[in-house]
Amino acid sequence: MKITGLMVNYYCLCQRKLWLCFHKINMENESELVNIGKVIDESTYEDEKHNFFIEDLANIDYLKNNTVYEIKKSDKMLESAIMQVKYYLYLLKERGLKNIKGKINVPLSKKSIDVFLDDEGIQEIEKCLAEIEKILNYKLPPQTLESKICKSCAYYELCFI
């Protein structure tokens, strides 16, 4: 199964969203917040090399000085973003690229977070990939999170109606 960087992110964020998105029941294009994120992605760091693809698994915002950069709208959901970047590093390592680091930039709050992939991180990623595969094979979507983050999620209405 092909597991993308976005899927790793969703896995950490909400397994239900992961399942729905994989089954192409997407809600992102309906969400104002997602559109704002898109504009931030398109309008920041315009001079840097944009969108570096690892096959069809990852779409890296940009790569510079042995560093993978990921741009985020806010630093609210940092944990899932860190896993996403770790997965990018994992994919690059698998393809023979060593000594690559990661960085998450949050232009709106002028923050920058470094991400490294150590042995523990590799194990973490591999466990996560196995879990994702399991979830996507469920017949029904996983239950709603009922968390604070649901309120700003593009899937809110679908989940709670």
Binding site: H23, K24, L140, F160
Partner: protein, 330 residues
Amino acid sequence: MQNSYYLFSNGELKRKDNTLRLSTEDGTISDIPIEKVYDIYVFGELNINTALLNLLSKYKIAVHFFNYYEHYIGTYYPKESNLSGALLVNQIQHYEILNKRLKLAKLFVSGSADNILRNLKYYNTRGKELDNSIQEISELMTQLSYMDSISSVMGIEGNIRKNYYEQWQIIINKDIEFEKRVKRPPDNMINSLISLFNSLLYNKIITEIYKTQLTPTISYLHEPFVKRFSLALDISEVFKPLIVDRFIFSLFNKNMIDESDFEKQTNSLKLKESSFKRILKLFDDRLKTTITHRTLNRIVSYRYLIRLELYKLIKHLIGEKEYDPFKIWW
């Protein structure tokens, strides 16, 4: 908030950079920023070109076209970008397996009947004699569960509507001869308004379906070949009592419409253009009416209620939660 645009002028609609530009025959030019457009309804004679269609597709805006008689003639439905193979398979399965289809068909009819009863009870408490009808329709609803074919479910639906329409002379404080629904052509003011606003509701629902992953041609109560987008017909049953019927009652009972708003065609009635514009505006306002949704605890518009209904249908189709048709709760 994005708006629906209703275009009556004759002239040209084209793309001007990232904006829609309407140039009318009398020389006026108006620009509509594309981000503000939810969907478009064209009633005039417009020239359009592919550059415009390109822009509309990019922003996924459906355009509904009407002819001189205000009859719906078709929709420019941009390329589907919301496709879910998994959902399509489920949508077809629920059509093909009779029990699954019957279940949905009955839910659409019972949802519609619930809302019809809500309307009747409302007027009943306001001194209109509707007790008999309320009882008869409630009885028809209980028969629904014994029906084992789609045509018999349709039959019940027809009988409920027939009984309901028979009460309109009581509900509407006007002396209009309205005994039954006549469609082709609508023979009086009421029939003519029902045709017009049912058709507009149908188009509103098409716009909403387009924004989801549902396929508009696969339906359950109506046969998928009766109309191009027959799923919209299924959904419209649930919403007609709230959106169309109540609207027509209030037009008459609040004296917002009378004979002078219509012009006689060879064998039907048609709203005059100025009246049509005025009433369309009222209808659009109605769709923007908001309520606090009980389950979501969010403020939603009538228009958005339609979308939520589609989400509920999606959840039913993927087997997550049984569809529970929308009920007027106020």
